[in-house]
Amino acid sequence: MSQEMIRVENLGKTFTLHLRGGIALPVLRDTSLSVAAGECVTLHGPSGAGKSTLLRSIYGNYRPQQGRILITHDGHPTDIVGAIPRVVLDIRRRTLGYVTQFLRVIPRVGTLDIVAEPLLARGAPAEHARTRAAELLSRLQIPEKMWNLPPATFSGGEQQRINIARGFCADYPILLLDEPTASLDDRNRKIVIELVDDARRRGTAIVAIVHDADTRAAITTRLLPMEAVGVAA
C-alpha cells in the first residue's frame, strides 16, 4: 500500500464573525480524510459544504479549532494545525503546493521567474528551475514573448495558467487544487488534466475541488462526499 501523505482527523472549524455580533458559522464538523501517494481525492458537495475551508485548512491557511491534520513532511507526520509559522512555511516550501485560479501578482517580477520561484525555494539550481518553468509555460501555451513580462496586465486565463505552471513547477509530494480548470478553454483544460495525471502517476498525493463534471471524472481516483454542517440543535 502507498504511503499515507495526508491524514485529517475529526476536523472542526467554525467562523466567528465579530463584526456581525459574534455570529458563529460552523463549516466543518468531525471531518476525516486520508490521502495516499498517487491518489487524487476530489472533494464533492454543494456550495457551502466546506470544501474550500478543508483545502485551506490542509494548507495551514485556515485555523481549525478541533482535530488535526498530519502532513507527511520529510517522512514524518507533522500536524499543521497549530504549527508555528516557521514549520508551516517549511512544509509549504518542500512538501505542500496549492493551486488556485487566482495568481497573486508580485510587482515587477517576470512571468518565468514567478513560475520558477517555488523550485528555487526548494533549493534547485537556477538553470534547472528556469528550464522547468519554460517547459511548463510552453506546455500551457503561454507565448514565449510574454515570459519576461510581469503578468499584472495579462488576461485572467493567462494568469490562471501561469499560476498552474507555478504550482506544478516544484513537483511537491502533495498538491492541493482549488478549481484549477475554472474558466479555461477545452484545450487548456485537457492540458491541465494531463498535468494532474502525470503528477499523480509520479506519486503525488492530490486533493482537488473541481466543479466541472468531465474534469472531475478525468482526474479523480476517489470522491469525498461533503455536506453542509447543520447548526447544532
Partner: protein, 258 residues
C-alpha cells in the same frame, strides 16, 4: 532549520504617563524571518520598534539578542557603548522619513560608506567601490554617487537609506513604515527591492506598517497590536485570510483588497 532565535523579546512594558504604549509584549525572531507589526496609528507599534532598538527606555522587560559571536545580550540592560556598537555593526534601522536616517549634508557615497568606516574599513577605493555596488543594488545611477541626498526624489532617498543600512550585512533590520509617504508606483518598486534584498542577504526584519498589502508581500508572520497589546499573532496569510480577533477582523475588512 537553525534551532536558536536571534532575538527574544520578553514581557516588554512601556508607558507614557498613564498612556500604555506596550503591555507585556513577548515574541521571538528567527534568522531570516520577516515579522510584520500591524495596527492603526497609536497602537504602540513604533514605540515597540524604538524600544527594541534601545532608542527609548522601557519600564520593564528584556530584549535578548544573540550576537554574531553567539553571546546572549540583554539590550535593555546593556551599556550604551555596547548597544551602540551592535546597532552600528549587526543591526540596521530604516526610518519612515529618509531624511531622519540619512546624513543630508553628506554625499550619497559617504552615506553608504559611513557604517563601513564605523566598523573599521578605511581604504577609500574599496569604500567607493562598495558604495557603487550598493547604489546599483538599490537602483540608483552610480553617476549620482557624489550628489547630496536632498537632490534625490523621496523614493531614491529611501533606497539610499536601505543601502546605507544593508552595506554592513546586518543580521537584523528594523523598519518603521518604510513605504509610508511614497507614491504607489514608487512603493511597488521599493517593496520588490526590499523583498529581494531581504531574501538574498537572509536578514531578519521587523517591519512596522499600517498597510496590510505591504505586510502581505513582505512579512512571513504578523503581530497585530491595539492599544499597546498584541491581540493576535501568526502566519501572515492565516491572519489576513482567517482573522480570529475582532480587531484583526476589523482591520482586514477595512481595506479594499489584500
Amino acid at each position: 532549520m537553525i534551532e536558536m532565535p536571534l532575538l527574544s523579546v520578553e514581557s516588554l512594558n512601556k508607558t507614557f504617563g498613564r498612556q500604555v504604549a506596550c503591555r507585556d509584549v513577548s515574541f521571538e525572531l528567527w534568522p531570516g524571518e520577516v515579522l510584520g507589526i500591524v495596527g492603526e496609528s497609536g497602537s504602540g507599534k513604533s514605540t515597540l520598534l524604538n524600544a527594541i532598538a534601545g532608542r527609548l527606555s522601557v519600564d520593564s522587560g528584556k530584549v535578548l539578542y544573540r550576537t554574531a559571536t553567539g553571546q546572549i545580550t540583554d539590550l535593555i540592560s546593556a551599556s550604551d557603548a555596547q548597544r551602540r556598537h551592535l546597532m552600528r555593526t549587526e543591526w540596521g534601522f530604516v526610518q519612515q522619513h529618509a531624511r531622519d536616517g540619512l546624513r543630508m549634508g553628506f554625499s550619497a557615497g559617504a552615506n553608504i560608506g559611513e557604517r563601513l568606516m564605523a566598523i573599521g574599513q578605511k581604504h577609500y577605493g574599496n569604500l567607493r567601490d562598495t558604495a557603487l555596488d550598493w547604489m546599483q543594488a538599490v537602483e540608483i545611477s552610480p553617476e549620482r554617487i557624489d550628489d547630496l541626498p536632498r537632490t534625490f526624489s523621496g523614493g531614491m532617498q529611501q533606497r539610499l537609506q536601505i543601502a546605507r543600512n544593508l552595506v554592513t550585512h546586518p543580521r537584523i533590520v528594523l523598519m518603521d513604515e518604510p513605504t509610508g509617504g511614497l507614491d504607489v508606483s514608487v512603493q511597488a518598486r521599493l517593496l520588490d527591492l526590499l523583498r529581494r534584498l531581504v531574501q538574498e542577504h537572509n536578514v531578519a526584519v521587523i517591519v512596522v506598517t499600517h498597510d496590510l498589502g505591504v505586510a502581505r508581500l513582505l512579512a512571513h508572520r504578523l503581530m497585530v497590536m491595539r492599544r499597546g497589546e498584541v491581540v493576535e499573532a501568526g502566519l501572515t496569510d492565516q491572519l489576513l485570510d482567517d482573522p480570529q480577533h475582532a480587531y484583526t477582523q476589523l482591520l482586514v475588512s477595512s481595506v479594499l483588497s489584500v
